[in-house]
Protein backbone atom coordinates (compact mmCIF):
# COMPACT_ATOMS: atom_id res chain seq x y z
CA UNK A 1 0.00 0.00 0.00
CA UNK A 2 1.41 3.39 -0.86
CA UNK A 3 2.09 6.07 1.69
CA UNK A 4 -0.65 8.67 1.51
CA UNK A 5 -0.73 12.10 3.03
CA UNK A 6 -3.84 14.20 2.64
CA UNK A 7 -3.83 17.87 3.55
CA UNK A 8 -1.27 17.38 6.30
CA UNK A 9 -0.58 20.36 8.51
CA UNK A 10 1.78 20.59 11.45
CA UNK A 11 2.58 23.12 14.13
CA UNK A 12 4.91 22.51 17.07
CA UNK A 13 2.55 24.53 19.26
CA UNK A 14 -1.09 25.58 18.76
CA UNK A 15 -0.18 29.23 18.30
CA UNK A 16 3.13 28.60 16.55
CA UNK A 17 3.82 28.99 12.86
CA UNK A 18 2.72 26.26 10.47
CA UNK A 19 5.72 24.12 9.67
CA UNK A 20 3.64 22.14 7.19
CA UNK A 21 0.68 23.87 5.61
CA UNK A 22 -1.49 21.47 3.65
CA UNK A 23 0.72 18.80 2.13
CA UNK A 24 -0.93 16.20 -0.06
CA UNK A 25 1.37 13.53 -1.38
CA UNK A 26 1.20 9.88 -2.42
CA UNK A 27 4.33 7.76 -2.47
CA UNK A 28 3.81 4.51 -4.39
CA UNK A 29 5.34 1.27 -3.16
CA UNK A 30 8.95 0.83 -4.11
CA UNK A 31 9.54 4.39 -5.22
CA UNK A 32 12.61 6.42 -4.29
CA UNK A 33 11.73 10.04 -3.80
CA UNK A 34 13.68 13.06 -2.66
CA UNK A 35 12.33 15.85 -0.49
CA UNK A 36 14.27 18.99 -1.34
CA UNK A 37 13.95 22.60 -0.40
CA UNK A 38 15.62 25.40 1.53
CA UNK A 39 16.23 25.21 5.27
CA UNK A 40 13.02 25.54 7.22
CA UNK A 41 10.82 24.35 4.41
CA UNK A 42 9.54 21.42 6.45
CA UNK A 43 11.40 18.55 4.78
CA UNK A 44 12.59 16.88 7.97
CA UNK A 45 9.25 17.47 9.69
CA UNK A 46 7.48 15.76 6.78
CA UNK A 47 9.93 12.89 7.03
CA UNK A 48 9.19 12.49 10.73
CA UNK A 49 5.47 12.48 10.07
CA UNK A 50 5.91 9.79 7.43
CA UNK A 51 8.01 7.82 9.93
CA UNK A 52 5.44 8.17 12.70
CA UNK A 53 7.79 10.18 14.95
CA UNK A 54 5.47 13.19 14.84
CA UNK A 55 1.71 13.24 14.53
CA UNK A 56 0.20 15.79 12.14
CA UNK A 57 -1.78 18.62 13.70
CA UNK A 58 -4.34 18.21 10.96
CA UNK A 59 -4.81 15.95 7.99
CA UNK A 60 -4.48 12.26 7.35
CA UNK A 61 -1.46 10.03 6.96
CA UNK A 62 -1.97 6.46 5.80
CA UNK A 63 0.87 4.01 5.89
CA UNK A 64 0.70 0.25 6.25
CA UNK A 65 4.21 -0.06 7.61
CA UNK A 66 4.58 0.28 11.37
CA UNK A 67 7.27 2.46 12.91
CA UNK A 68 9.09 -0.64 14.07
CA UNK A 69 9.50 -1.94 10.53
CA UNK A 70 10.79 1.30 9.08
CA UNK A 71 14.51 1.84 8.89
CA UNK A 72 16.35 5.10 9.22
CA UNK A 73 19.55 6.47 7.77
CA UNK A 74 20.81 9.46 9.72
CA UNK A 75 23.19 12.18 8.66
CA UNK A 76 25.61 11.06 11.36
CA UNK A 77 26.05 7.28 11.23
CA UNK A 78 24.54 5.81 14.39
CA UNK A 79 26.51 2.62 14.77
CA UNK A 80 27.84 0.58 17.67
CA UNK A 81 31.33 1.99 17.40
CA UNK A 82 33.25 -0.74 19.19
CA UNK A 83 31.65 -3.59 17.32
CA UNK A 84 32.63 -4.80 13.88
CA UNK A 85 30.94 -4.02 10.58
CA UNK A 86 29.55 -7.54 10.45
CA UNK A 87 28.13 -7.26 13.97
CA UNK A 88 26.49 -3.92 13.24
CA UNK A 89 24.75 -5.27 10.17
CA UNK A 90 23.88 -8.53 11.87
CA UNK A 91 21.91 -6.69 14.56
CA UNK A 92 19.47 -5.51 11.90
CA UNK A 93 18.82 -9.01 10.61
CA UNK A 94 18.98 -10.87 13.89
CA UNK A 95 15.20 -10.79 14.29
CA UNK A 96 14.66 -12.26 10.81
CA UNK A 97 13.89 -16.00 10.70
CA UNK A 98 17.19 -16.80 9.00
CA UNK A 99 19.82 -19.25 10.05
CA UNK A 100 23.42 -18.25 10.62
CA UNK A 101 24.54 -19.14 7.12
CA UNK A 102 21.78 -17.11 5.51
CA UNK A 103 22.52 -14.16 7.75
CA UNK A 104 26.22 -14.26 6.90
CA UNK A 105 25.42 -14.49 3.20
CA UNK A 106 23.17 -11.47 3.48
CA UNK A 107 25.87 -9.52 5.34
CA UNK A 108 28.39 -10.28 2.61
CA UNK A 109 25.86 -9.39 -0.08
CA UNK A 110 25.15 -6.02 1.52
CA UNK A 111 28.84 -5.27 1.97
CA UNK A 112 29.42 -6.03 -1.70
CA UNK A 113 26.54 -3.75 -2.67
CA UNK A 114 27.95 -0.84 -0.69
CA UNK A 115 31.53 -1.45 -1.82
CA UNK A 116 32.90 -2.64 1.52
CA UNK A 117 33.97 -6.15 0.60
CA UNK A 118 36.58 -7.40 3.02
CA UNK A 119 35.63 -4.93 5.76
CA UNK A 120 33.35 -7.29 7.68
CA UNK A 121 35.73 -7.75 10.58
CA UNK A 122 36.84 -4.14 10.83
CA UNK A 123 35.73 -2.23 13.90
CA UNK A 124 33.43 0.56 12.93
CA UNK A 125 35.42 3.20 14.78
CA UNK A 126 38.40 2.49 12.48
CA UNK A 127 36.45 3.43 9.33
CA UNK A 128 36.18 6.78 7.60
CA UNK A 129 32.98 8.84 7.67
CA UNK A 130 31.96 7.73 4.22
CA UNK A 131 32.62 4.09 5.02
CA UNK A 132 30.60 4.35 8.22
CA UNK A 133 27.74 5.89 6.30
CA UNK A 134 27.83 2.99 3.87
CA UNK A 135 27.74 0.57 6.80
CA UNK A 136 24.68 2.40 8.09
CA UNK A 137 23.08 2.05 4.67
CA UNK A 138 23.90 -1.65 4.49
CA UNK A 139 22.42 -2.11 7.96
CA UNK A 140 19.27 -0.22 7.07
CA UNK A 141 18.66 -2.24 3.90
CA UNK A 142 19.89 -5.65 5.08
CA UNK A 143 16.54 -6.93 6.28
CA UNK A 144 14.75 -5.71 3.11
CA UNK A 145 12.55 -3.23 4.95
CA UNK A 146 9.43 -1.95 3.25
CA UNK A 147 10.28 1.69 3.96
CA UNK A 148 13.61 3.46 4.46
CA UNK A 149 13.75 7.08 5.56
CA UNK A 150 17.00 8.98 5.10
CA UNK A 151 17.78 12.40 6.47
CA UNK A 152 20.65 14.09 4.61
CA UNK A 153 22.55 10.80 4.22
CA UNK A 154 25.38 12.58 2.43
CA UNK A 155 25.22 15.83 4.34
CA UNK A 156 28.74 15.53 5.76
CA UNK A 157 30.43 13.88 2.80
CA UNK A 158 32.46 15.18 -0.10
CA UNK A 159 31.30 14.77 -3.70
CA UNK A 160 33.25 11.62 -4.43
CA UNK A 161 32.03 9.91 -1.30
CA UNK A 162 28.50 11.14 -1.97
CA UNK A 163 28.63 9.39 -5.31
CA UNK A 164 29.82 6.20 -3.64
CA UNK A 165 27.04 6.38 -1.06
CA UNK A 166 24.26 7.08 -3.55
CA UNK A 167 25.47 4.32 -5.84
CA UNK A 168 25.40 2.04 -2.83
CA UNK A 169 21.84 3.04 -1.99
CA UNK A 170 20.72 2.55 -5.55
CA UNK A 171 22.30 -0.88 -5.76
CA UNK A 172 21.39 -2.15 -2.31
CA UNK A 173 17.84 -0.89 -2.33
CA UNK A 174 16.61 -3.53 -4.65
CA UNK A 175 13.00 -3.56 -5.65
CA UNK A 176 10.07 -3.05 -3.40
CA UNK A 177 11.73 -0.80 -0.84
CA UNK A 178 10.17 2.60 -0.66
CA UNK A 179 12.81 5.20 0.03
CA UNK A 180 12.29 8.80 1.10
CA UNK A 181 15.43 10.95 1.17
CA UNK A 182 15.60 14.44 2.61
CA UNK A 183 18.38 16.42 0.97
CA UNK A 184 19.36 19.90 -0.03
CA UNK A 185 21.73 18.49 -2.66
CA UNK A 186 20.31 18.47 -6.18
CA UNK A 187 22.94 15.91 -7.18
CA UNK A 188 21.57 13.48 -4.60
CA UNK A 189 18.03 14.25 -5.72
CA UNK A 190 18.99 13.34 -9.25
CA UNK A 191 19.33 9.71 -8.15
CA UNK A 192 15.67 9.62 -7.18
CA UNK A 193 12.72 8.71 -9.35
CA UNK A 194 10.73 11.67 -8.09
CA UNK A 195 11.72 14.98 -6.56
CA UNK A 196 9.30 16.86 -4.33
CA UNK A 197 10.26 20.45 -3.65
CA UNK A 198 8.96 22.04 -0.47
CA UNK A 199 8.85 25.74 0.32
CA UNK A 200 7.30 27.35 3.37
CA UNK A 201 5.67 24.09 4.39
CA UNK A 202 3.94 23.50 1.08
CA UNK A 203 4.75 21.42 -1.95
CA UNK A 204 6.07 23.80 -4.53
CA UNK A 205 6.68 21.32 -7.34
CA UNK A 206 7.00 17.65 -8.11
CA UNK A 207 9.18 16.32 -10.88
CA UNK A 208 9.47 12.81 -12.23
CA UNK A 209 7.49 9.81 -11.05
CA UNK A 210 4.71 8.04 -12.96
CA UNK A 211 3.78 10.15 -15.96
CA UNK A 212 0.21 8.85 -15.87
CA UNK A 213 -0.31 9.72 -12.26
CA UNK A 214 -0.54 13.19 -10.94
CA UNK A 215 -0.67 14.18 -7.32
CA UNK A 216 -2.89 17.05 -6.30
CA UNK A 217 0.24 19.07 -5.80
CA UNK A 218 1.18 18.67 -9.46
CA UNK A 219 -2.20 20.07 -10.43
CA UNK A 220 -1.75 22.89 -7.95
CA UNK A 221 1.67 23.66 -9.34
CA UNK A 222 0.35 23.67 -12.90
CA UNK A 223 -2.56 25.87 -11.93
CA UNK A 224 -0.26 28.35 -10.23
CA UNK A 225 1.97 28.44 -13.28
CA UNK A 226 -1.06 29.34 -15.27
Amino acid sequence: MPIEMIDVRFRYSPLGPAVLDGVTLTIPDGQMIALVGPSGSGKTTLLQIIGGILKPSEGVVRCDTSIGRMRWIFQTPMLLARQTVRQNIDIAISTAPWNARTREARVQEMLADVGLDGYADHRVNTLSGGQQQRVQIARALACRPPVVLADEPTGQLDHATTTLVMNAIAKARGHGTTMVIVTHDEYVASYCERVVRLEDGRIHSVKGGDAHRMDDCDMVAEASDE
Binding site: I53, R71, T76, Q87, T95
Partner: protein, 357 residues
Protein backbone atom coordinates in the same frame (compact mmCIF):
# COMPACT_ATOMS: atom_id res chain seq x y z
CA UNK B 1 19.88 -12.95 19.34
CA UNK B 2 20.11 -11.87 22.97
CA UNK B 3 23.01 -14.12 23.89
CA UNK B 4 24.85 -13.23 20.72
CA UNK B 5 24.50 -9.54 21.47
CA UNK B 6 25.48 -10.09 25.11
CA UNK B 7 28.75 -11.63 24.00
CA UNK B 8 29.40 -8.86 21.50
CA UNK B 9 28.52 -6.12 23.97
CA UNK B 10 31.00 -7.50 26.50
CA UNK B 11 33.69 -8.25 23.93
CA UNK B 12 33.40 -4.82 22.35
CA UNK B 13 34.52 -3.15 25.58
CA UNK B 14 36.99 -5.58 27.02
CA UNK B 15 38.98 -3.05 28.99
CA UNK B 16 35.90 -1.44 30.48
CA UNK B 17 34.50 -4.86 31.31
CA UNK B 18 37.69 -5.84 33.12
CA UNK B 19 37.78 -2.58 35.02
CA UNK B 20 34.18 -2.95 36.10
CA UNK B 21 34.73 -6.51 37.29
CA UNK B 22 37.87 -5.49 39.17
CA UNK B 23 36.18 -2.51 40.79
CA UNK B 24 33.22 -4.61 41.81
CA UNK B 25 35.49 -7.31 43.20
CA UNK B 26 37.26 -4.73 45.36
CA UNK B 27 34.02 -3.17 46.51
CA UNK B 28 32.08 -6.31 47.29
CA UNK B 29 35.15 -8.01 48.69
CA UNK B 30 35.64 -5.16 51.13
CA UNK B 31 32.02 -5.39 52.23
CA UNK B 32 32.25 -9.17 52.55
CA UNK B 33 35.47 -8.86 54.55
CA UNK B 34 33.97 -6.36 57.00
CA UNK B 35 30.87 -8.47 57.45
CA UNK B 36 32.83 -11.69 57.90
CA UNK B 37 35.22 -10.02 60.35
CA UNK B 38 32.43 -8.84 62.60
CA UNK B 39 30.72 -12.20 62.45
CA UNK B 40 34.00 -13.97 63.12
CA UNK B 41 34.60 -11.80 66.17
CA UNK B 42 31.21 -12.59 67.62
CA UNK B 43 31.40 -16.27 66.79
CA UNK B 44 34.86 -16.54 68.30
CA UNK B 45 33.56 -14.96 71.48
CA UNK B 46 30.64 -17.30 71.40
CA UNK B 47 32.89 -20.34 71.06
CA UNK B 48 35.05 -19.09 73.88
CA UNK B 49 32.05 -18.38 76.07
CA UNK B 50 30.54 -21.76 75.33
CA UNK B 51 33.72 -23.65 76.18
CA UNK B 52 34.32 -21.50 79.23
CA UNK B 53 30.76 -21.91 80.38
CA UNK B 54 30.71 -25.65 80.20
CA UNK B 55 29.74 -27.24 83.51
CA UNK B 56 28.65 -23.85 84.85
CA UNK B 57 25.04 -23.34 85.85
CA UNK B 58 23.12 -20.30 86.86
CA UNK B 59 20.36 -20.42 89.48
CA UNK B 60 18.06 -17.45 89.83
CA UNK B 61 15.21 -16.62 92.16
CA UNK B 62 13.90 -13.17 92.98
CA UNK B 63 10.70 -11.78 94.39
CA UNK B 64 8.46 -9.28 92.71
CA UNK B 65 10.27 -6.55 94.59
CA UNK B 66 13.63 -7.77 93.20
CA UNK B 67 14.93 -9.15 96.47
CA UNK B 68 16.74 -12.48 96.42
CA UNK B 69 15.14 -15.77 97.31
CA UNK B 70 18.19 -18.10 97.38
CA UNK B 71 19.80 -18.81 100.72
CA UNK B 72 23.30 -17.30 100.71
CA UNK B 73 24.47 -19.90 103.20
CA UNK B 74 23.23 -22.79 101.04
CA UNK B 75 24.93 -21.37 97.95
CA UNK B 76 28.25 -20.78 99.73
CA UNK B 77 28.13 -24.22 101.31
CA UNK B 78 28.13 -25.87 97.89
CA UNK B 79 31.87 -25.12 97.77
CA UNK B 80 32.35 -28.02 100.15
CA UNK B 81 30.49 -30.48 97.92
CA UNK B 82 32.83 -32.92 96.09
CA UNK B 83 30.81 -32.56 92.87
CA UNK B 84 31.35 -28.82 92.81
CA UNK B 85 34.50 -27.01 91.70
CA UNK B 86 33.25 -23.62 92.77
CA UNK B 87 30.04 -21.90 93.79
CA UNK B 88 29.36 -18.19 94.22
CA UNK B 89 26.28 -16.16 94.99
CA UNK B 90 25.36 -12.61 94.05
CA UNK B 91 23.30 -10.16 96.02
CA UNK B 92 21.62 -7.22 94.36
CA UNK B 93 24.02 -4.51 93.15
CA UNK B 94 24.58 -0.86 94.03
CA UNK B 95 25.39 1.88 91.57
CA UNK B 96 28.80 3.35 92.25
CA UNK B 97 31.49 5.40 90.56
CA UNK B 98 35.25 5.27 90.82
CA UNK B 99 36.77 8.58 91.74
CA UNK B 100 39.66 8.30 89.27
CA UNK B 101 37.27 7.45 86.43
CA UNK B 102 34.64 10.19 86.49
CA UNK B 103 31.71 9.68 84.12
CA UNK B 104 31.96 5.87 84.23
CA UNK B 105 29.28 4.03 86.16
CA UNK B 106 29.79 0.68 87.84
CA UNK B 107 27.78 -1.88 89.77
CA UNK B 108 29.12 -2.82 93.18
CA UNK B 109 28.13 -6.45 93.63
CA UNK B 110 28.41 -8.16 97.02
CA UNK B 111 29.17 -11.85 96.55
CA UNK B 112 29.63 -14.99 98.59
CA UNK B 113 31.58 -18.13 97.74
CA UNK B 114 34.38 -18.46 95.17
CA UNK B 115 33.57 -15.68 92.69
CA UNK B 116 36.94 -15.56 90.97
CA UNK B 117 36.71 -19.20 89.94
CA UNK B 118 33.21 -18.61 88.61
CA UNK B 119 34.36 -15.61 86.59
CA UNK B 120 37.05 -17.67 84.91
CA UNK B 121 38.48 -21.13 85.31
CA UNK B 122 41.94 -19.59 84.99
CA UNK B 123 41.57 -17.33 88.02
CA UNK B 124 43.17 -18.39 91.28
CA UNK B 125 42.67 -15.83 93.94
CA UNK B 126 42.72 -16.13 97.70
CA UNK B 127 41.84 -12.54 98.34
CA UNK B 128 38.78 -11.91 100.42
CA UNK B 129 39.28 -8.19 100.86
CA UNK B 130 38.87 -5.36 98.42
CA UNK B 131 37.02 -5.94 95.18
CA UNK B 132 37.52 -7.79 91.90
CA UNK B 133 37.47 -5.94 88.59
CA UNK B 134 37.63 -7.37 85.06
CA UNK B 135 41.00 -6.97 83.37
CA UNK B 136 39.96 -4.96 80.30
CA UNK B 137 37.80 -2.60 82.32
CA UNK B 138 40.66 -2.08 84.76
CA UNK B 139 43.00 -1.25 81.90
CA UNK B 140 40.51 1.25 80.45
CA UNK B 141 40.32 3.24 83.65
CA UNK B 142 43.97 2.86 84.60
CA UNK B 143 43.59 0.55 87.58
CA UNK B 144 46.26 -2.05 88.26
CA UNK B 145 46.20 -5.12 90.42
CA UNK B 146 46.74 -4.10 94.06
CA UNK B 147 45.84 -0.41 93.60
CA UNK B 148 43.93 1.29 96.38
CA UNK B 149 40.86 2.69 94.67
CA UNK B 150 38.39 5.22 96.01
CA UNK B 151 34.79 4.28 95.33
CA UNK B 152 31.88 6.65 95.73
CA UNK B 153 28.84 4.68 96.84
CA UNK B 154 25.24 5.39 95.91
CA UNK B 155 24.67 7.11 99.27
CA UNK B 156 27.49 9.55 98.52
CA UNK B 157 29.99 8.01 100.91
CA UNK B 158 33.49 7.23 99.66
CA UNK B 159 35.27 4.00 100.49
CA UNK B 160 38.79 2.94 99.68
CA UNK B 161 39.38 -0.66 98.64
CA UNK B 162 42.10 -2.72 97.07
CA UNK B 163 41.51 -3.65 93.42
CA UNK B 164 42.17 -7.25 92.35
CA UNK B 165 42.26 -7.60 88.55
CA UNK B 166 40.81 -10.84 87.18
CA UNK B 167 39.67 -12.40 83.92
CA UNK B 168 35.90 -12.59 83.46
CA UNK B 169 35.12 -14.74 80.47
CA UNK B 170 32.15 -16.82 81.44
CA UNK B 171 29.46 -14.66 79.95
CA UNK B 172 29.91 -11.96 82.53
CA UNK B 173 29.73 -9.53 79.70
CA UNK B 174 28.74 -6.71 81.95
CA UNK B 175 32.27 -5.68 82.74
CA UNK B 176 31.15 -2.71 84.77
CA UNK B 177 30.71 -4.98 87.80
CA UNK B 178 32.94 -4.73 90.84
CA UNK B 179 32.64 -7.88 92.92
CA UNK B 180 33.31 -7.81 96.64
CA UNK B 181 33.05 -10.55 99.23
CA UNK B 182 30.52 -10.33 102.00
CA UNK B 183 29.24 -12.62 104.70
CA UNK B 184 27.01 -15.52 103.59
CA UNK B 185 23.90 -14.21 105.23
CA UNK B 186 20.52 -13.39 103.87
CA UNK B 187 19.16 -14.20 100.44
CA UNK B 188 20.76 -14.02 97.01
CA UNK B 189 19.26 -13.28 93.62
CA UNK B 190 21.71 -15.54 91.78
CA UNK B 191 23.91 -18.51 92.57
CA UNK B 192 26.52 -19.77 90.07
CA UNK B 193 27.94 -23.28 90.30
CA UNK B 194 30.73 -24.95 88.36
CA UNK B 195 30.57 -28.73 88.57
CA UNK B 196 33.55 -31.01 88.46
CA UNK B 197 33.78 -32.32 84.88
CA UNK B 198 31.95 -35.61 84.69
CA UNK B 199 30.11 -35.09 87.96
CA UNK B 200 26.86 -34.57 86.06
CA UNK B 201 25.95 -36.65 83.03
CA UNK B 202 23.92 -33.94 81.30
CA UNK B 203 22.19 -30.59 81.70
CA UNK B 204 19.02 -32.19 82.95
CA UNK B 205 20.77 -33.92 85.82
CA UNK B 206 22.79 -30.83 86.70
CA UNK B 207 19.72 -28.58 86.68
CA UNK B 208 17.79 -31.04 88.84
CA UNK B 209 20.64 -31.48 91.32
CA UNK B 210 21.22 -27.77 91.74
CA UNK B 211 17.53 -26.98 92.05
CA UNK B 212 17.23 -29.54 94.82
CA UNK B 213 20.41 -28.36 96.54
CA UNK B 214 19.23 -24.76 96.74
CA UNK B 215 15.57 -25.47 97.44
CA UNK B 216 14.64 -24.31 100.93
CA UNK B 217 10.92 -24.61 100.29
CA UNK B 218 10.38 -20.87 100.00
CA UNK B 219 10.56 -20.08 96.28
CA UNK B 220 10.77 -21.47 92.82
CA UNK B 221 14.35 -21.48 91.57
CA UNK B 222 15.14 -21.43 87.87
CA UNK B 223 18.38 -23.10 86.83
CA UNK B 224 19.92 -22.77 83.36
CA UNK B 225 23.24 -23.77 81.85
CA UNK B 226 25.53 -20.77 81.59
CA UNK B 227 26.16 -21.47 77.88
CA UNK B 228 22.49 -20.88 77.02
CA UNK B 229 22.43 -17.40 78.41
CA UNK B 230 25.75 -16.69 76.74
CA UNK B 231 24.43 -17.94 73.42
CA UNK B 232 21.32 -15.83 73.76
CA UNK B 233 23.31 -12.65 74.40
CA UNK B 234 25.69 -13.37 71.57
CA UNK B 235 22.84 -14.12 69.21
CA UNK B 236 21.39 -10.72 70.05
CA UNK B 237 24.76 -9.16 69.30
CA UNK B 238 25.00 -11.11 66.06
CA UNK B 239 21.59 -9.97 64.92
CA UNK B 240 22.23 -6.37 65.84
CA UNK B 241 25.79 -6.06 64.53
CA UNK B 242 26.34 -2.82 62.58
CA UNK B 243 27.47 -4.70 59.48
CA UNK B 244 24.23 -6.63 59.13
CA UNK B 245 23.06 -4.44 56.24
CA UNK B 246 26.35 -4.35 54.40
CA UNK B 247 24.99 -6.81 51.84
CA UNK B 248 22.41 -4.20 50.77
CA UNK B 249 24.99 -1.44 50.65
CA UNK B 250 27.38 -3.62 48.67
CA UNK B 251 24.66 -4.62 46.23
CA UNK B 252 23.54 -1.02 45.75
CA UNK B 253 27.09 0.19 45.16
CA UNK B 254 27.72 -2.62 42.65
CA UNK B 255 24.51 -1.60 40.89
CA UNK B 256 25.63 2.02 40.65
CA UNK B 257 29.00 0.91 39.31
CA UNK B 258 27.36 -1.02 36.49
CA UNK B 259 24.35 1.17 35.81
CA UNK B 260 25.94 4.61 35.55
CA UNK B 261 27.90 3.70 32.39
CA UNK B 262 24.65 2.33 30.95
CA UNK B 263 22.96 5.66 31.47
CA UNK B 264 25.64 7.27 29.33
CA UNK B 265 25.09 4.55 26.74
CA UNK B 266 21.31 4.71 26.76
CA UNK B 267 21.30 5.67 23.09
CA UNK B 268 22.26 2.04 22.41
CA UNK B 269 18.91 0.93 23.79
CA UNK B 270 17.11 3.20 21.34
CA UNK B 271 19.41 2.10 18.53
CA UNK B 272 18.51 -1.55 19.06
CA UNK B 273 14.85 -0.67 19.09
CA UNK B 274 15.15 1.43 15.94
CA UNK B 275 16.56 -1.66 14.25
CA UNK B 276 13.52 -3.72 15.11
CA UNK B 277 14.46 -5.23 18.48
CA UNK B 278 11.62 -5.20 21.01
CA UNK B 279 11.79 -3.48 24.40
CA UNK B 280 12.19 -6.69 26.36
CA UNK B 281 14.90 -8.30 24.23
CA UNK B 282 16.78 -5.01 24.28
CA UNK B 283 16.60 -4.80 28.07
CA UNK B 284 17.51 -8.47 28.35
CA UNK B 285 20.77 -7.97 26.46
CA UNK B 286 22.04 -5.56 29.08
CA UNK B 287 20.50 -7.40 32.03
CA UNK B 288 22.23 -10.65 31.08
CA UNK B 289 25.53 -8.94 30.31
CA UNK B 290 25.61 -7.09 33.60
CA UNK B 291 24.40 -10.08 35.59
CA UNK B 292 27.42 -11.98 34.31
CA UNK B 293 29.65 -9.14 35.44
CA UNK B 294 27.89 -9.09 38.81
CA UNK B 295 28.43 -12.79 39.40
CA UNK B 296 32.06 -12.59 38.33
CA UNK B 297 32.78 -9.50 40.40
CA UNK B 298 31.14 -10.92 43.50
CA UNK B 299 32.83 -14.27 43.10
CA UNK B 300 36.29 -12.74 42.86
CA UNK B 301 35.49 -10.31 45.67
CA UNK B 302 34.32 -13.07 47.97
CA UNK B 303 37.40 -15.14 47.18
CA UNK B 304 39.92 -12.44 48.02
CA UNK B 305 37.98 -11.41 51.11
CA UNK B 306 38.07 -14.97 52.46
CA UNK B 307 41.77 -15.27 51.66
CA UNK B 308 42.58 -12.05 53.50
CA UNK B 309 40.40 -13.06 56.43
CA UNK B 310 42.09 -16.44 56.65
CA UNK B 311 45.49 -14.74 56.61
CA UNK B 312 44.49 -12.20 59.26
CA UNK B 313 42.70 -14.60 61.57
CA UNK B 314 45.02 -17.53 60.90
CA UNK B 315 42.05 -19.77 60.42
CA UNK B 316 39.57 -20.75 57.73
CA UNK B 317 36.35 -19.13 58.81
CA UNK B 318 33.09 -20.85 57.91
CA UNK B 319 32.23 -19.81 54.33
CA UNK B 320 28.47 -20.32 54.47
CA UNK B 321 27.68 -16.97 56.01
CA UNK B 322 29.90 -15.14 53.54
CA UNK B 323 28.43 -17.04 50.60
CA UNK B 324 24.97 -16.00 51.77
CA UNK B 325 26.22 -12.44 52.12
CA UNK B 326 27.49 -12.52 48.53
CA UNK B 327 24.21 -14.03 47.27
CA UNK B 328 22.16 -11.33 48.98
CA UNK B 329 24.40 -8.60 47.57
CA UNK B 330 24.23 -10.10 44.07
CA UNK B 331 20.46 -10.39 44.17
CA UNK B 332 20.16 -6.79 45.27
CA UNK B 333 22.41 -5.67 42.44
CA UNK B 334 20.70 -7.79 39.78
CA UNK B 335 17.22 -6.73 40.91
CA UNK B 336 18.13 -3.06 40.70
CA UNK B 337 19.86 -3.62 37.34
CA UNK B 338 16.80 -5.33 35.94
CA UNK B 339 14.59 -2.45 36.95
CA UNK B 340 17.04 0.06 35.54
CA UNK B 341 17.46 -1.70 32.20
CA UNK B 342 13.69 -2.09 31.84
CA UNK B 343 13.32 1.65 32.38
CA UNK B 344 16.06 2.47 29.87
CA UNK B 345 14.59 0.14 27.24
CA UNK B 346 11.23 1.83 27.64
CA UNK B 347 12.79 5.13 26.70
CA UNK B 348 11.16 6.74 23.71
CA UNK B 349 12.55 5.50 20.43
CA UNK B 350 10.69 8.31 18.69
CA UNK B 351 12.46 10.87 20.84
CA UNK B 352 15.81 9.26 20.05
CA UNK B 353 15.14 9.40 16.31
CA UNK B 354 13.86 12.96 16.63
CA UNK B 355 17.13 13.94 18.31
CA UNK B 356 19.19 12.41 15.50
CA UNK B 357 17.35 14.37 12.80
Amino acid sequence: MVLRQVGRTLAAQRLMTLLLVAAMAVLTGACAFLDASSRYEIMAEHDQAVSAGLNVYHAHAAGDDGTGRISAALCASLNTNPSVNAAAGVFGSRAVTIVKAPGRHFSYVPVVGDITRILSAENASDYDDGFFIERRTAAEIGVSDGDNVRIRMDDGSVETATAHVVEAERGFADTTQLWSYTAPQGSLTDCYVEFVPGAMTDDEQAVGWLSAALDDGRSTISVTPMTQSDAGKLLDRYMSRPTRFLWAAGGALAFLLLFLPLVFRRHEFALYRSLGAGKNPTALIYIVANTLLTVLGHGIGLAWAMLILAWVQRTIFEPTGSAMFAMASMLTCVTLLTLGCVVLSRGSMAAYIHRQL
